[in-house]
Symmetry: D2
Subunit: 143 residues, 4 copies
């Protein structure tokens, strides 16, 4: 049974300091939950996330998935600012609806001493169908 090393409040505080570009107070990305093994992020709809045709852009989804993997990892191992992504693989599946928030549900598949691997399912608004699926690997610095 995983235990979260950081609460949602602690995660937000840490990320506002460490990643002010991404996680701003009152910003677009909210942490809805994080329990040491999974997390759920919500990116509020804004026009900046669209590409022509009114669909959610690829870079928006890649950046959000990368954030979600980082949040679930921090939740599992505590505040380690130097963990870095080593690999990210994304499959784009469906168009995200314009006007809708994007949700990212991340899950740790393996938490090792040096590497953590997880998957992220991205959905749009209330639809359960994933608009993209990501797997990512983080390298954890040795103390």
């Amino acid at each position: 049974m995983p235990v979260a090393k950081m609460s949602v409040i602690e995660l937000e505080r840490f990320l506002h300091v460490e990643f002010p570009q991404v996680f701003r107070t009152g910003g677009d990305i909210l942490i809805e939950s994080a329990d040491g093994e999974t997390c759920l992020l919500r990116q509020r709809y804004s026009e900046a996330m669209l590409r022509p045709g009114g669909t959610v852009s690829g870079p928006t989804l890649m950046a959000l998935a990368d954030c979600a993997m980082y949040v679930v990892l921090l939740s599992a191992i505590g505040p380690v600012g130097l963990a870095v992504t080593t690999n990210l693989n994304i499959n784009f599946l469906r168009k995200g609806a314009p006007g809708q928030d994007v949700l990212a549900a991340a899950k740790i598949l393996k938490l090792g001493k040096r590497l953590a691997v997880g998957e992220v399912s991205l959905t749009s608004g209330a639809s359960p169908e994933p608009i993209a699926h990501v797997t990512a690997t983080y390298s954890i610095p040795t103390p």
Copy 2:
């Protein structure tokens, strides 16, 4: 609600004819279930699947995952012999135990007209922890 276009018996018959190298009668790979959206394959333990150190080899896992994606796709769209893998991404997570069967649980993430994307979780024996995780894309020939 997905409906399987082929039963397990029909899948086995088709694969024995189309892929005799892989699916032989009395062979190593068994289809335990397939319902048009998911499938479960079992590869019986044999020494040929090991690499030094007694763990399950990477190529064994990649080949089994590729099979599982093909089986779940056939189950979803019916007997289409010319569907081909276009991309496969695998993360190796843990060592598979020697002496144990390997199980591959595949799930379709998106079934389009031209492309199908799925994920496969590979486990060893009765352990629920995945030993590898795969995402794969198949190209579906247009009629």
Copy 3:
């Protein structure tokens, strides 16, 4: 021998209209060359591309690589606005130096009727060592 279907000037004009968020006149991303099989993009250094520690952020690299694949594809097939990324895999290799432009050298590995696959090597400033390596697949709409 590939022949470019669009010149650099035509590519820039097309992208300023189709992707104004990304390719602005006087913006950060410049097309240095494109010949129907390869292209070279330069993203001018700005603080917005950094993450804590002063290194180039992952999302910056993923977005630039995705752009580079799109530019080389347009250069190969002409102005097709509806081509979409279906898969992108990135390996982060080294830290990009702060204060340096990022360069993306894309190359088409396969140009099919329905799918195009390419690779992108990302470098920082004048160093030849790649800071990240990407493979990506685009789906080409049928006329």
Copy 4:
């Protein structure tokens, strides 16, 4: 300038002992060259490598690419039997011609203390066009 830590003869001797299933004396896979940064492997044509339709099977290509990454890594770091693949991503590009050997040209993109990343281009017979492209990551055990 990289220096090979093992000659082709030393590599073959090591692999015949460590991976007798794959590298047998007089077997299918030959090391043509290895210089500490790149290597070239040849898999001699045999019917066992085909799938229906007479093309080279996906698992054959994935297994050969994994071998090539391991050989180039050994060539760079010396005889380390416990290096393991952590991620492999393959794009299948063209059909390999029946009756032809398959060649795998591997290249190290990054050699770190804990992780090595490389790419492998697979070709069929004398054709220069790649039939598949692979990127892979190996985890290197710490002494």
